[in-house]
């Protein structure tokens, strides 16, 4: 199973509501997967700076002097905004790769959830309602976001196994389905020098897209080639700095519903997830075609 929701706002006046709309959509999808939940939210970006969202199992200890430690390590200012087990570190955009390395050395137990100018990823084990509450997702604003609730099949129920996965700067992936060639692909990616941290199939899918894009493919091209190289069932929703995309495998047995109005484009694993959106009664509602890449951007 697994449940996916996505919301891309065209009407900027709705931006302060993004978090609460997404939370409502995600909570509706709870019975598609109660194991873990996560949300990628594309919020305000400030010029030239980048955000690194990190997670720790012992946040008080890890976050206490993190900003100062990191600042010293990379030789630039770092601000830290803690949010439960997660913290958003903001710094000069040019320093973000260095900061990622430094975090690994300074706090080996911590995990990097995402990096980018706009993206923040929050994910934990638990029900969507509880996960959304602990991070106060409903108070967050932004231009677009993606949520996922997981019914684990291919790997353990852990924070690392939760979606969304960060696939590159400001990019993320969520998945409903299961990939059957992820072990072979993981070995292949490892040989190519791509880091895959968990035994999770979707992370391999995410790493595959990252690898394709590092080798010059656009996200659209990477998604197109995923139809060839990934074996298994998938409905993917991807987030980018400017928008979001949807692709389903050619068999398309994993559900997907989309709705579009003048105000937004929305995605749900089921129509139920969309019923509280404004003007849904008059929205264009349709099922995305199999093996077809869809994209919306600002």
């Amino acid at each position: 199973m697994c449940g996916i929701v996505g919301l891309f706002l065209k009407d900027r006046t709705l931006e302060p509501e993004l978090g609460s709309m997404l939370t409502d959509m995600l909570v509706t999808m709870t019975d598609r997967g109660p194991d873990s939940a996560g949300i990628a939210i594309y919020g305000a970006e400030s010029d030239g700076s980048a955000k690194l969202t990190v997670q720790s199992d012992s946040p008080e200890e890890d976050f206490a002097t993190l900003a100062a430690d990191l600042s010293e390590a990379i030789g630039a200012d770092v601000t830290l905004r803690a949010n439960d087990t997660h913290a958003v570190l903001e710094m000069d955009g040019a320093k973000v790769e260095q900061a990622r390395q430094a975090v690994r050395e300074l706090r080996p137990g911590m995990r990097v959830m995402s990096d980018g100018a706009a993206i923040e990823i929050y994910k934990e084990v638990g029900l969507p309602k509880d996960v959304a509450e602990r991070f106060s997702v409903s108070t967050m604003g932004g231009s677009h976001g993606i949520g996922h609730t997981r019914m684990a099949t291919e790997s353990a129920v852990t924070t690392e196994g939760a979606h969304p996965f960060n696939t590159g700067s400001d990019q993320c992936l969520v998945h409903n389905g299961s990939l059957s060639n992820h072990n072979a692909l993981r070995r292949k990616l490892k040989r190519e020098g791509v880091r895959v941290e968990s035994m999770n199939d979707t992370e391999v899918g995410a790493a595959y897209l990252t690898w394709k894009m590092q080798n010059g493919a656009t996200l659209g091209e990477a998604l197109e080639s995923s139809l060839e190289d990934l074996d298994g069932f998938f409905t993917f929703v991807v987030g980018t700095k400017d928008g979001f995309g949807v692709v389903r495998d050619p068999i398309a047995c994993k559900p997907a519903v989309m709705a579009e109005t003048d105000q937004y484009v929305a995605f749900g694993s089921e129509y139920r997830a969309l019923v509280n959106l404004p003007g849904i009664e008059d929205a264009k509602v349709w099922e995305p075609e199999p093996a077809t890449v869809y994209f919306w951007s600002h």
Binding site: P250, I251, A252, C253, P255, V257, E270, Y271, R272, A273, L274, V275, V285, W286, E287, E289, P290
Partner: protein
């Protein structure tokens, strides 16, 4: 007319109320409000009542229907009218995957499009789709008729038994053992009747008929390598 508000009174109550209607009920007309994409709306009915669902539904709407006429004023999720035995189900909007799957009888009308696997393993149901249908439709279909006023997707009628397939538009590809067949007067008759009952504005002569080549029915020693 009786009304039932799903948002207010819950889904279980809806189905137990509708299932409790007998052949002799005088509450023959029901309106279901606020379905809001809920699953399993109006399933397992077994009385000649009319149910109108005011909005879109989720999975398995009108499943296992017998006798009832169920009209959905919206779109339906996967598995509408699954395993229907008799009666009529009309969807004003689109239908998701496997509409009418394994249905034994009755009429399913989809006024919009149906997605993949429409009529999979149908066993006697008649399905009329005013729009298009997706891939792998009528897979292993055994009996009944699937009428498509628009286009059909890939692998139509794969491993088909004896269901009749009628498509007005294009067929992206035919599945294994499905072939185009001659349209004879008796087929035009069947088609005319179904189009009329489904309120479809199309002429029987505009359709092509597809059916089983009957080559997969029995083990064939020449195909041994393929098994």
């Amino acid at each position: 007319m009786q009304t039932y508000d799903v948002a207010e009174n819950g889904l279980r109550g809806l189905n137990s109320t509708l299932q409790a209607q007998s052949k002799e009920t005088n509450q023959t007309n029901w309106e279901v409000q606020n379905p809001k994409g809920s699953h399993a709306i109006a399933v397992g009915l077994d009385a000649p009542i009319e149910v109108t669902v005011k909005g879109s539904t989720g999975y398995y709407c009108a499943g296992m229907n017998q006798q009832a006429t169920i009209k959905v004023e919206g779109s339906v999720g996967p598995g509408v009218a699954e395993n229907m035995m008799s009666g009529t189900v009309v969807v004003e909007g689109d239908a998701s995957q496997y509409a009418g799957a394994t249905g034994h009888g009755g009429l399913l009308v989809i006024k919009g499009n149906a997605s993949s696997r429409c009529g999979i393993s149908m066993k006697g149901i008649d399905i009329v789709v005013h729009g298009n249908i997706g891939h792998m439709s009528a897979f292993m279909a055994q009996a009944g008729n699937l009428v498509v006023c628009g286009d059909a997707g890939d692998a139509l009628g794969d491993s088909l038994y004896e269901a009749g397939l009628f498509v007005r538009g294009s067929v992206k590809s035919l599945g294994a053992d499905c072939i185009e067949k001659e349209m004879r007067p008796e087929h035009l008759e069947v088609l005319k009747d179904l189009l009329e009952r489904a309120g479809a504005d199309a002429k029987p002569e505009e359709f092509k008929r597809y059916g089983s080549a009957r080559q997969l029915y029995n083990f064939d020693i020449d195909n041994a390598a393929a098994y």
